[in-house]
Symmetry: C2
Subunit: 212 residues, 2 copies
């Protein structure tokens, strides 16, 4: 569980503890597989107590998504935003994202595990999920635009394409490492990322962190 | 259903018809969701008749995997192997694979739909699935090696990395187009593929099919 701010009330901290248990469970059983009965068992709370926090299964699912996103922001986005603008920050996004993806507590990335589940289930939960994914893709495009401004990336770079390729290679890594148990997947992923950075780099900006 | 060879016996063609129905069903409900009862309903055959073809659920799942692979070979691999060696053949793999991926009858790629399902389910079905995926990845690496031999690709190209990147971008496309309903995903995918080919190309081989 992530540390709670000092001002958090008891009700809040209970809610967060429940949601963290639910995020972990959903990584395995999916959002549809979440049950208030099962969560009651895992958290030691009564079913009626849980219903006080989440008045419907859909509401529970939405709050689980929001909580997972909050943790993604804390683990990946916030620390990367402290890193110097431009390519160094993009490298930080990459490293923190990979750390998140490899976190055994999440059993692989929570978001990717439930992506296929929601594939064929239109509705408010799916819409929310897609909105979060789009936000993250936009954040990557913005970070690439900053790298253009900093003179690290080519002036005419298609930053949306950059974000697509960046996001895409993490999705692929998830598949290769998790499903195919490909022990070399991380080395491959890093090579793909270096190729992407090299293709976007201005020739007059020598990336001090570039690998051969 | 794909056309059957003339020598196919009645038993074979019934088996293939059942398996094709099962492949379509598994794309939606997953391999675990397949039931002999449901297949009996869809094919109009008796449960006992179906048991005569598949003596266990695991056997059914393995045969469904084999049938989907057979169709993938017919739709993607066989026609591409008729195309000229080197980059033209790699482009053919790409186009036929994309066609397969976009086939509405498969509701997106059968293999990717069940990938997440098998993620946490060790066993013979998962092992077989991973073996099929590895075979396909090796076929892509071999096709890239041929492109090196033909003088299209750089002599020192890491063809395994090429296969990883090629496969990875199709996985990513599946995610963006299917889950996120990103109408621009195909344009993005094509740009990623052109960038990959451009990065691998020998400077003295001008690819006649290259896009700007």
């Amino acid at each position: 569980m992530t540390p709670l701010p000092a001002s958090t009330t008891k009700g809040d901290s209970t809610r967060i503890a429940i949601l963290d248990a639910a995020v972990a469970a959903a990584s395995t059983v999916g959002l549809e597989g979440l049950s208030i009965g099962q969560l009651a068992k895992e958290t030691g709370l009564s079913k009626s107590g849980l219903f006080a926090h989440f008045d419907s299964k859909e509401n529970l699912q939405l709050q689980v998504l929001a909580r997972a996103t909050e943790r993604f922001v804390e683990t990946v986005i916030a620390p990367a935003l402290k890193v110097r603008r431009g390519v160094p920050r993009l490298r930080a996004f990459f490293e923190y994202w990979l750390k998140w993806e490899k976190d055994p507590a999440m059993r692989g990335c929570f978001f990717l595990s439930i992506a296929t589940e929601l594939d064929d289930q239109p509705g408010v939960v799916r819409d929310r999920f897609v909105a979060y994914q789009r936000d993250w893709q936009s954040a990557l495009a913005t970070a690439a635009r900053i790298a253009v401004e900093e003179g690290h990336f080519l002036e005419d770079l298609d930053v949306e394409q950059f974000a697509y390729d960046f996001f895409g290679m993490i999705l692929a890594f998830h598949h290769f490492s998790r499903l195919m148990h490909d022990a070399g997947a991380e080395v491959r992923l890093r090579a793909s990322f270096e190729r992407l950075l090299a293709d976007c780099r201005r020739p007059d900006w020598p990336d001090p962190q570039a690998k051969a």
